[in-house]
């Protein structure tokens, strides 16, 4: 085959940095991924608490300063509320996708698949259950 007489000149469009703003589906996806930054904040906050606890004397001086001075700060309280909201947003969108990762048949011979709402509801029950366990454990050990 000769290379002559070809007008081929495939055009490859550039990937724009704003590609995720062009489609609401992608915007929601990026927000979902973005919630990880807020989770990072919460992780560091908890880690700081553990350090303060370890550094405290018998009366828990450093730890109390952490609780009252740091956690009590209105900015930190607001940030924690944002973190809670974004975490719930992540959970809701992620739970909605999760049935895709489950493909089970109703029984050994059936060709009927387990409906997607079963794992979907299951995840919400697990969320409520885990929250209750943590809250009860927190109050019991108080």
């Amino acid at each position: 085959m000769s290379a002559d007489n070809t007008f081929r000149k495939p055009y490859v469009p550039k990937v724009e940095a704003s590609w995720w703003l062009k489609n609401p589906f992608f915007t929601r996806y990026i927000i979902r991924e973005g919630t990880s930054l807020v989770s990072l904040f919460v992780c560091l906050e908890l880690l700081l608490g553990v350090f303060c606890f370890a550094l405290s004397d018998a009366h828990g001086d450093v730890y109390l300063a952490y609780v009252n001075g740091f956690l009590g700060n209105i900015v930190i309280i607001l940030l924690n509320l944002v973190a809670l909201a974004s975490c719930l947003f992540h959970a809701v969108t992620w739970f909605a996708l999760m049935p895709k990762a489950v493909r089970l048949f109703m029984n050994k011979n059936s060709t009927e698949l387990l409906p997607g709402y079963v794992p979907h509801i299951g995840l919400y029950l697990a969320l409520v259950g885990a929250t209750l366990v943590i809250l009860v454990a927190a109050f019991v050990t108080m």
């Binding site: 081929r8 495939p10 469009p13 590609w19 589906f25 996806y29 996708l97 990762a101 060709t111």
Partner: protein, 248 residues
Amino acid sequence: MANDKIMKITVTRYRPEQDAEPFQQTFDVPYHNETSVLEALFYIKDHFEPSLSFRWSCRMAVCGSCGMMVNGVPHLACKTFLRDYEGKAMTIAPLENFPIERDLVVDISDLIEKIERIKPYIIPAAKDKNMPLTKEYRQTPQQMEAYRQFAQCINCGCCYAACPQYKINKDYIGPAALTLLYRYDIDNRDAGSAIRDEFLSSENGVWGCTFVGYCSEVCPKHVDPASAIQLGKVKSATNYVIKMFKPE
């Protein structure tokens, strides 16, 4: 066609022999209740722009040739109807994430290569190697149902146009090919899992997916590639653990 309604359709044009980059052209296209986007393109070709290029063949959502972006969303032109866009303007552009060859024609050879790469055919087990061609493989209805949905792919490329991971990393094997990989892996007649694991478990295999889920949203055949890929992750992780305890 006196009673026809009119839709403003903006089409992306690109003529490699004379254009440096794509441009837009707008047409007033009359339509009725049954007019598909593909037919609208024919109308434009017949009445305004004979040089307008686009791919098509079956006109019935079977061949997978006519994938394109309609108002920014990947669609089969033959399965998309103007009536669903009533009162809106319509823009038609070539399928995203593929090199544009001419007008609405894109080069999907990368997709085809990836589908070939994952060996989309039944690889018999060693014990079946000499099975006579006249002898059938047995399969229960449930065994068939396990992969049936994933076998409906027509290679139209809509899922690649919908995939942000493929957009930023062209080495990612991508939704359709990974779905076919999974489809053959779970077929009880197939024994090629170990051979395909190299692709399934690679960084550009299922683990390249961040579960955006838009591929499943746009798939015109309801294959649900995102599901096959997540199930592929389960399989890949299981393989990994098994290998940990049972090194070859």
